[in-house]
């Protein structure tokens, strides 16, 4: 635990020390809030945050790869990975520390959007329970995206390559969740493959939680999804020790 917390604090601090983080944060919030207010958020007497949370899967898609791209690629490019991996710390702890730092940075950004539901609550009646639930769901979704991005970052020493690979893979995963795409790929893929691809798309599982419906299966799905990619990340790092 101590190791995770030391890595976590260093990574989180390094997010706040880099100017890119601020540019990223402002852009992220700007785009998110602009799009959210463009949509109708006050429907008659009932205020709702659904429009806002509905945007997150897409906005995350374009922004989160930017948060994870440097996590391993930069360590590899500058060689600091050699010191990091020779500290007496398990690989799983290194990965967890970095992963939770990225997630925490995102959580801080999301905290800035709290003004939106507060405003809504002031002018209309807002049911807070689904809103808080949706924030938790957003973190689960972000965790899934970050785990994918971090995995790609461990495969290259070039941040831009990591960025593009995560962007493309997240776009594909996202697309598989849509019936239109599912129908299209059904033309040349066997049914089980279509079901599998549709089944792993994180987007599908977000909808219901974002509405405030917490289903254990959805949560288990997100935990498995993150676990899968974080574990793959560890395999990549271990494999590199073998190959040199």
């Amino acid at each position: 635990m101590r190791e995770i917390s030391v890595i976590f604090r260093r990574e989180l601090k390094s997010y706040f020390l880099s100017p890119i983080a601020y540019v990223f944060g402002v852009l992220f919030l700007g785009v998110l809030l602009y799009l959210a207010t463009q949509r109708q958020i006050v429907d008659g007497q009932q205020a709702s945050m659904q429009a806002f949370f509905g945007l997150l899967p897409v906005v995350f898609l374009f922004f989160l790869p930017g948060l994870t791209m440097r996590l391993w690629a930069e360590e590899r490019r500058s060689g600091t990975i050699e010191l990091l991996m020779t500290f007496p710390v398990r690989i799983g702890h290194l990965i967890s520390g970095k992963f939770f730092a990225a997630l925490a940075f995102l959580a801080v950004l999301l905290l800035f959007t709290i003004g939106l539901p507060v405003t809504l609550a002031t002018y209309g009646s807002l049911d807070w329970a689904p809103v808080l639930g949706a924030y938790v769901a957003s973190l689960l979704l972000a965790g899934a995206y970050l785990a994918v991005g971090m995995f790609w970052s461990s495969l290259t020493r070039d941040q831009i390559v990591a960025l593009l690979l995560s962007l493309v893979s997240l776009l594909l995963l996202y697309a598989f969740g849509f019936p239109v795409v599912a129908e299209w790929i059904a033309g040349f893929l066997p049914t089980w493959a279509v079901d599998l691809l549709g089944g792993i798309s994180p987007y599908k599982y977000f909808e219901s939680i974002a509405r405030g419906v917490f289903d254990t299966r959805d949560i288990v799905y997100y935990l498995c999804f993150c676990g899968f990619f974080l574990h793959a990340n560890a395999l990549v790092l271990n494999n590199r020790r073998l190959k040199g």
Partner: protein, 328 residues
């Protein structure tokens, strides 16, 4: 303290280490010598558990680098080849991070960081960002992070590469000081570095250990030292006289621009001093002696002999071994 047995490392088809073995006792300072790509860094990366060996065994303090990697890593301080550091961090923050992650207890942390800062002469720059530091200071930060947890073993990969001569001397002094308390393995191209501080030298070449001995023994193993005599004398008389004095020895005579002669005589390292009889010969003939000196083989010669490609080394030997008179 460190035992390496038939250690192999292959990178794809390339064999970086071809089954090397050596032992390091507690408190020894070992100099790792070898040309670029010889396998020095690979050996160090395996000892620090950054890389896994293809086969063979390596243990540190009795713990296997593969099976008890965490125990090994906690006993080692490591400075990788290009001194990678987190540029955006402040020196003191960085050292605190290293002390924390290495598990230095919270109560001892301040003292440990202070000691590393003091030993490495970082007092003036603790508040600066690492990215602003000069190369010499960066190197010192690298050394400071390697010693902050007072490891039993220090592994330093080319700790002085890229530094200017003054910085090299500073870092070398620092390593000498560290060598008094730690077991040190350092790799280098600079032979002076191990001439002074290392108690033992391991020369590694193309993935194999070609020499493992004390510095003095290595130098003594060189077959010959050379005596150079610079005189003003008639050539024929000189040739005749020297053949009488040193029957069977190779004497290379060279005529210099001012008509003086320079002789090079190869003698074994163990032979009785010849300087006296040479001087006597010159005086007896009433020649003028301009210079008389014996070139002892240095570690550099040992290194060249052990690591030069065989053809080049042979040419070298052939050039030195001609008994003919050369006119410049």
């Amino acid at each position: 303290m460190i035992e390496v047995e038939r250690l192999r490392k292959d990178y794809g088809m390339a064999h970086a280490l071809k089954g090397i073995s050596f032992r390091v006792q507690r408190g020894e300072v070992i100099g790792f010598l070898g040309p670029n790509g010889a396998g020095k860094s690979t050996t160090m990366k395996i000892l620090t558990c950054f890389l896994l060996p293809t086969s063979g065994r390596a243990t540190v303090d009795g713990f296997d680098v593969v099976e008890h990697s965490l125990k090994v890593r906690s006993r080692i301080g490591y400075l990788p080849e290009s001194t990678p550091l987190y540029g955006e961090m402040r020196v003191d923050d960085y050292l605190r991070f290293c002390a924390e992650i290495r598990g230095v207890p919270i109560l001892k942390r301040g003292v440990a960081i202070d000691r590393a800062v003091e030993l490495c002469g970082l007092r003036r720059v603790t508040g600066k960002n690492i990215v602003e530091l000069s190369k010499g200071y960066r190197q010192r930060v690298g050394l400071a992070q390697a010693i902050v947890h007072e490891p039993e073993v220090l592994i330093l990969d080319e700790p002085t590469s890229g530094l200017d001569p003054n910085q090299i001397i500073e870092v070398r002094h620092l390593i000498e000081r560290l060598g008094q308390e730690h077991t040190v393995i350092l790799s280098t191209h600079y032979l002076q570095e191990v001439e002074k501080s290392a108690s033992r030298v391991i020369v590694i070449h193309q993935g194999e250990i070609v020499a493992d001995d004390t510095r003095d023994n290595l130098v003594a193993s060189m077959p010959a030292s050379v005596i150079t005599v610079h005189v003003r004398a008639p050539l024929e008389a000189l040739q005749r006289q020297f053949h009488e004095l040193l029957p069977g020895r190779k004497v290379v005579i060279e005529t210099l621009a001012d008509d003086s002669l320079r002789l090079r005589v190869e003698v074994g390292t163990g032979t009785a001093p010849l300087e006296e009889s040479i001087a006597r010969l010159v005086v007896k003939n009433n020649w003028s002696l301009l210079e008389l000196l014996r070139e002892r083989p240095s570690l550099e010669d040992v290194f060249r002999k052990l690591t030069m490609p065989p053809t080049a080394a042979n040419n070298d030997a052939a050039a030195a071994g001609t008994g003919e008179v050369a006119r410049a």
